[in-house]
Symmetry: C2
Subunit: 428 residues, 2 copies
Amino acid sequence: MKKIYNPKRSEWSTVLKRPTQTVADIEQTVEAIFKEVQNDGDTILKKYTEKFDGVIIDGFLVSEQEIEEAKALVSQELKEAILSAKNNIEVFHKAQKTDRVAVETANGVQCWQEKRPIQKVGLYIPGGTAPLFSTILMLAVPATIAGCEELVLCSPPNKEGKIHPAILFTANLCGVTKIFKVGGIQAIASMTFGTESIPQVYKIFGPGNQFVTVAKQIATKYGIAIDMPAGPSELLVLADDSANPAFVASDLLSQAEHGVDSQVILVSTSKEIIAAVEIEVEKQLQELPRKEIAEKAIANSKLIYVEDDATANDLINEYGPEHFIVCVTNEDYFIDNIKNAGSVFIGDYTPESAGDYASGTNHTLPTNGYAKQYSGVNLDSFMKSMTFQKISREGIVEIGKTIEVMAEAEGLYAHKNAVTLRLQSLKD
Amino acid sequence: MKKIYNPKRSEWSTVLKRPTQTVADIEQTVEAIFKEVQNDGDTILKKYTEKFDGVIIDGFLVSEQEIEEAKALVSQELKEAILSAKNNIEVFHKAQKTDRVAVETANGVQCWQEKRPIQKVGLYIPGGTAPLFSTILMLAVPATIAGCEELVLCSPPNKEGKIHPAILFTANLCGVTKIFKVGGIQAIASMTFGTESIPQVYKIFGPGNQFVTVAKQIATKYGIAIDMPAGPSELLVLADDSANPAFVASDLLSQAEHGVDSQVILVSTSKEIIAAVEIEVEKQLQELPRKEIAEKAIANSKLIYVEDDATANDLINEYGPEHFIVCVTNEDYFIDNIKNAGSVFIGDYTPESAGDYASGTNHTLPTNGYAKQYSGVNLDSFMKSMTFQKISREGIVEIGKTIEVMAEAEGLYAHKNAVTLRLQSLKD
């Protein structure tokens, strides 16, 4: 772990630098596959599924029977855990519902704003050894609360042409309309254009490797919205002497096990806690099954000492962490003053993994400093805001002159005329 | 105008097709200018301002003195109109403020969501003959209500090196922090990277020509958020026999005058109103200063007759209009059932130009069918949602097991351990 004491503000951007990713060279590959999927649909999906997933798939749609088989394969203990997490996620996301906002902005001018669901959404769930069923909860639960009509899920098949039972169980539980055995760039392209099997959607959500990340970026060029741009997962812990070094170390390691490019940072105004955490990290690291991955991420991690809370707060806002754990006595100062963070975990008994699975908050969060301008996934991510206005005769008389003057000043005479005609009709 | 009677559902996508835009060939130009601005900052801005705007600019920042001069040049009548519009826009956007959403999802598990402002935002305002000061109101007013700390505005200078007084007056009135005389691709690149003069921002808003549109798209590749992808402005009017043909025609024309690629569609279940509107359009067209532009847009416009309201509603949802005017007796049916529209204008006395300037709703709206998945600009566009959670000892006992089981099933043992350690400490 790299220890940095009192970095100068001019050095912050270097100290806080994330590992660079080069996407430019992937773009051409992604664009080429997009074009192929656009032109040849399912035939191309079959080709790339054989090439990348090593299996020939005839029907991409997961059948009812496959779902029933999956249900039987998931342990009762896991089912109960998933149901319990689902409940908390539902409670938190249902609370995010907003009423319509209606005001009379001027006499006779009624304006209102309503949120309505995005009709068709696509969820991408990566394959691999770890089946990310928790992400299905995080996406399908709010999508269902929002009222999205069609929830399409794509996930790559394994060598036997199957999707992990926990994924199928969770998707079925959460109201996913259709599940398809297709992954990678070709899955994102399918949901962008639609194929014979797979419906086009309006917005695509979900994590993935760098190919999926670039594919989602390319999808936006074809008019499809995405949840947010992605980067490696990251955690910043702020701790003082009141913090428990073992707990802090366990949180840093739970982030570090995600991948060798994971970002782990500890910020503190106490050199003692930094030293204690470092010892604990070494100790706990030895016990981890994913030790090799975590070790590499930890080697790049940073322990940053700063002199006071105000400096710590500024530094954290400059970084904009995806996950921000606050284990300090004066937690309120940081809660009130944090400007850029995806999700904030407060106190000794709030590990990041609580938010990853079961506290109820969403774990699809902005990485890479995007917390400065992007929200984590929430209920509104599955809706769009629309505005309405209804103006009475009295109302157009009230604001007509303003419109005429402004339209004329902008050189838009037909805009002006649309008002003038109406005002004249009321004088006649 | 093209009349289409009872188009089959299979033909809707063709009937509703928007004019295609090719952006691929612009991308390289934009990328090249981005690289130059990233490397050489102000020097490059100067070069391109001379090349594209035909003027040598030494200081890009608009001075206090220039703002004072501008204030003196705007007529009292226009100032009053701008102030009146600003008031309505403020009332509507202030009403969109939301409280923090706090719930206890399980015993001892406190979760809440808060929206906090995006610290630095950039507004792009195009130049040209028509100074779009109204767009400043639509962007700077909600940005200020949101609490954004830095509002940077870029707009191209004219041949005399000046920005239109109405733009400077409005920007100053609405709390824009800094105004810069720079336009086009180079303005978007400046706000993306920052230069010696121009600060980097986190999110860029505002309209522009196809170069600006592509530049905003490219900016997202460098981690900057944008308001939404853009396309030509469009209007769909739904009218029945109760509608006033002259009013409808004036609305169609106010859209048509925007540009030759503007989209204008009338949908009706009455052949009579279609015929009457067509006659009115011809009549009013002759009077317009921007007749040549409007004529070309009108030539491509469509008058679509359908047999019943349900079909009309489906067709409109398939199109997803930016602006949707509803002039029918049973307006409630359409208000309740519209799924995809940017802003809806209801009744005979609610012309689109009311929303463009002064009703209070925002005029920065999704075009090109993006109403299916994007919101128009609103207060939330200038904020991001953050989540917080605080779990008590009781709380971690309550949800700990769920987290452990799920983390293990996903193969993330350090995630599990962060909980196990805490649970054990409570047993000791």
